[in-house]
């Protein structure tokens, strides 16, 4: 019989979490404003909720975050700090998903 022990990954300290969640939030705001401008130009209400559009914006924000990390040469720093790639993507996807959820709730409340 073999027992498999899974060690949970180390949790990043609040300083790292704050720095990258803040960046994730700014990237989402940028992606959202750009997408809203394009949707508005097409003559549609940018705050109308569409699941596909929201998922796309979360994906774009996450991808922008990943590109930004490479651009700023931060991979070595983050990996030496024990931050895995999955965790890093979560830093960028999290604020975007929350923001999109907020917009969806606002749209539903408005009816």
């Amino acid at each position: 019989m073999y027992a498999i022990t899974l060690t949970p990954p180390m949790r990043p300290n609040p300083l790292i979490i704050r720095a990258f969640l803040t960046r994730g939030a700014w990237l989402w705001i940028g992606a959202r404003l750009l997408a809203s401008a394009v949707i508005a130009l097409a003559g549609t209400n940018p705050l109308d909720f569409s699941l596909m559009a929201s998922l796309l914006i979360v994906g774009v924000s996450t991808a922008l975050g990943a590109v930004d990390v490479v651009r700023r040469h931060e991979r070595a720093l983050l990996e030496n700090l024990g931050v895995s790639r999955m965790m890093l993507l979560a830093f960028f996807a999290g604020p975007a998903a929350l923001g999109e959820l907020g917009i969806a709730l606002a749209a539903m409340a408005r009816g």
Partner: protein
């Protein structure tokens, strides 16, 4: 002493070119090991695999009593490994102090101010890395190692682009770290500096490695002298 890190029979092909066929690397607590080889011999690739920065095609890595087929740096870093890459370690976005503080909080490390003082960068703590000179950036990286105090340090060409005096100071720090029980492996082409500092030499050539032992034995090795050091170095010693 037992090695803390063993990369065994590691192979790697990059863009269709076989870089490593059977490279091995050991990091032993209390020892400073120099990994030497000509450009393209595979030493940086071997160090990157040992650090979990890239994954090998074959071979195994053992670190701190655990074996890994596909090692990842974040996992190894948690267990006490620090990888100093052949490019800048620090993010351009935050001050040196903020990034050293990240290491201190994450690993319950040493004082940022004290480490910066020891590394000779105390007066530049609030600067961002892009505002530092090459030598200052290397010193800031040394400060990160001092804050982190890892069990094992793998440094890829740490003396790149810095003045001989800075290289001498860094060598002194690496020796000090090894004397505290840290396992240190460094690569580079600064042969006199590396041979003077190292306890052991590993030669990487033609996709494989040779353990040459202490620097005196390495220098006395005919093939190493002929194929790596060259005639002028051999005649100087």
């Amino acid at each position: 002493m037992m090695p803390l890190l063993v990369a065994d029979c590691v192979s790697k092909t990059l863009r269709g070119r076989r870089i490593l066929s059977a490279g091995s690397l050991r990091a032993v607590p209390g020892e400073l090991r120099a990994l030497l080889g000509r450009n393209g011999a595979g030493k940086s690739t071997l160090l990157k695999i040992a650090a979990g920065w890239i994954q090998p095609d074959g071979g195994t890595l053992t670190f701190d009593g655990r074996s890994y087929q596909q090692p990842r740096l974040p996992t190894l870093a948690e267990r006490g490994l620090f990888y100093l890459p052949d490019h800048d370690l620090f993010s351009h976005a935050y001050s040196v102090r903020a990034q050293l503080e990240m290491f201190r909080r994450q690993f319950d490390g040493d004082s940022v101010e004290k480490s910066a003082e020891l590394a000779g960068i105390a007066d530049r703590l609030d600067a961002k890395p892009l505002d530092l000179s090459g030598g200052e950036r290397r010193r800031a990286e040394i400060a990160a190692i001092l804050v982190r105090r890892p069990k094992c340090l793998l440094a890829d060409e740490p003396f790149r682009g810095i003045a001989p005096k800075d290289a001498e100071d860094m060598t002194h720090v690496f020796r000090e770290l090894a004397s505290t029980g840290m396992a240190v492996v460094i690569t580079g082409h600064e042969v006199p500096t590396l041979l003077a500092a190292a306890d052991h030499v590993t030669w990487c050539t033609s996709g494989t490695t040779h353990e040459l032992g202490p620097p005196a034995s390495a220098v006395a090795n005919d093939a190493f002298g002929r194929e790596y050091l060259g005639g002028s170095y051999s005649s100087q010693t």
